[in-house]
């Protein structure tokens, strides 16, 4: 793949009279960790659904890992990984079974699945728990495992939808170290989060408000543009213009 990992150009999505995503344009470079922020209902989820090839846009275009979401959504889905807080793994299957299942779904051969599994489990120190039911793993391990499963087929871009809910500060940081390591190996990461301190971990970020991108740049640039000390303040000013103190 040459060029940026993700390019969105005037991406729009309407549901009847309601415009959920309004001519959104941005680009994410290869190996970048990009924070995709916005309040609930700002259009983040819809935008991501379009980018991963699940929802066709009403207007505009986007290219993800070199494939067009309008003319080749199948191609997009093959090249990306996805992890969501709402659902990632099957609780009543073991670690090994989950890996095998997702591997087969992505068309990997059994030998390749075994090899990748050992590498990825080794990376997070979970090799000893191969045959444990996912239900029995502490939340932090589940999250890391879910990320590894999303990386099973070595995608070029991986989308993480609020991956770090509910865990303690150490576990959260360990997860972000995993994200850094993933990006360092060349995988592009687009992540959404409610924790604005995590936004600072990103190379670049964007904040969506009412379907549009209201701010974009490195954390430092965004803070400087809005003259705020923290991203929290920027977020507050953008989403509730009258409420900032």
């Amino acid at each position: 793949m040459t060029g940026p990992a993700i390019v969105a150009d005037g991406l729009t999505r309407r549901f009847g009279a309601f415009t959920a995503v309004d001519a959104v344009s941005f680009a994410v470079g290869r190996g970048e960790v990009f924070g995709f922020l916005g309040a609930n209902g700002a259009g983040k989820t819809t935008a991501i659904r379009m980018l991963i090839g699940l929802l066709p846009p009403t207007a505009g275009e986007a290219t993800v890992a070199g494939a067009s979401i309008t003319s080749d959504p199948e191609g997009v889905r093959r090249r990306i990984g996805y992890m969501s807080q709402r659902f990632s793994l099957y609780d009543d299957l073991t670690v090994r079974e989950n890996v095998a299942l997702f591997g087969t779904i992505y068309g990997l051969r059994p030998a390749a699945i075994d090899a990748r599994r050992e590498i990825l489990l080794g990376r997070i120190g979970l090799a000893h728990a191969r045959d444990a039911l996912v239900r029995q793993l502490p939340l932090g391990w589940k999250q890391q495992l879910a990320l590894m499963v999303a990386l099973l087929h070595e995608p070029e871009v991986v989308f993480l939808d609020e991956p770090t809910g509910g865990v303690d500060p150490i576990t959260r940081r360990r997860f972000w170290e995993l994200i850094y390591a993933t990006a360092a190996s060349g995988t592009t990461v687009l992540v959404t989060t409610h924790y604005l301190d995590e936004a600072e971990y990103c190379d670049r970020l964007s904040i969506m408000v009412d379907g549009r991108i209201a701010a974009i740049g490195t954390p430092g640039e965004v803070r400087a543009t809005w003259g705020a000390a923290t991203l929290d303040e920027v977020f507050l000013r953008l989403t509730r213009p009258g409420a900032a103190a």
């Binding site: 099957y90 009543d92 299957l93 079974e97 299942l101 087969t104 779904i105």
Partner: protein
Amino acid sequence: MSALAGLVRKETRHLLRDRQTLAILLLLPLVSVLLFGFAVRTDVRAIPVAIVDPSPDAASRALAAQVAQSPQFRLRGVVRSEQALERDFRAGTLRQAIVLPEGTARRLARGDRIVIGVITDAADPNTGRVMGGHVAAMLARWEADQVGPSGVPRVTMLTRMRFNPTLESVNLFVPGLIALVLTIVAAMMTAISITREKERGTMELLLASPLRPATVVLGKVTPYVVLGMANALTVLLAARLVFGMPLRGHPGLLLVAALLYVIASLGLGILISTRAETERTAIMAALAGLLLPTLMLSGFIFPLEALPAPLRAVAQVIPARWFLVIVRGVMVKGATLADLHREVAVLATMAIALLGIGIRRLAIRLP
């Protein structure tokens, strides 16, 4: 292709690891087969029968002996006149009566023709017909014994199908239908309502409030009582107006019975909900544990007399079994409270007991 195999493997694992659902899905067919197998009988056994014999003699005693020995009949007694049997007929404890004429043996010896009356409770038309057939066969044997193999047939059987002379099926189905409808509305909906509260998380809030379990229960079930009674009325009206089903007894007794049955079903619904964690479990428990036995073992379609002894014993604890006797008694036979006081008492006891147990089991804390 291997993705398909992977998906099949996953679904199989989900199924095998959900022990509760698996148990129900494997046991349910087995239980159904057993129940259906034993309960679906059109032949009847141990029919409670009485003999009306104004002048007992050798011939009539021979008939009594034959009846007493036959496994198809259960001889309740030999009486002098029909009047004595009226109450038992209405209460359903007597299903047939054989009425002999005066001086049976004498007349047979003289070569006269005699007429033997057979009164059959045909509130359930199917069993009515079958019982009629059994008595006819029995009488034929007796006649052959009395007059010898070469004798001319001298016994004429005069059959009277009581309570349902035209053998209307609707008389059989409607009472059971009322019971079924009430079971669904009262038991299943109550169970679902409480488990839904648990799933939503609002149960936790109710528990942490000053509300006592009895209040919660009464508050939750009252709308279903009203709904259940409305449904019962609807079914009854339809049966009367559309299908012409009789209502020979007092409607008040009927409604009281319906109310008691509703309360008993509600109690069962609450009991189910105290064990079920999810709506899905509640529905399955209500279907398998309540609806199915009510359908099969209450005398709804298949007569109780046809059940083997162990199943008949189980049937005694099913509220519908008692409710149906009352409904049929009141509607088809014109029975009164005096006739049915035993059944009403049992139903009332069940209603109070089940509701009480349900309330006690509704914990005041989280498990």
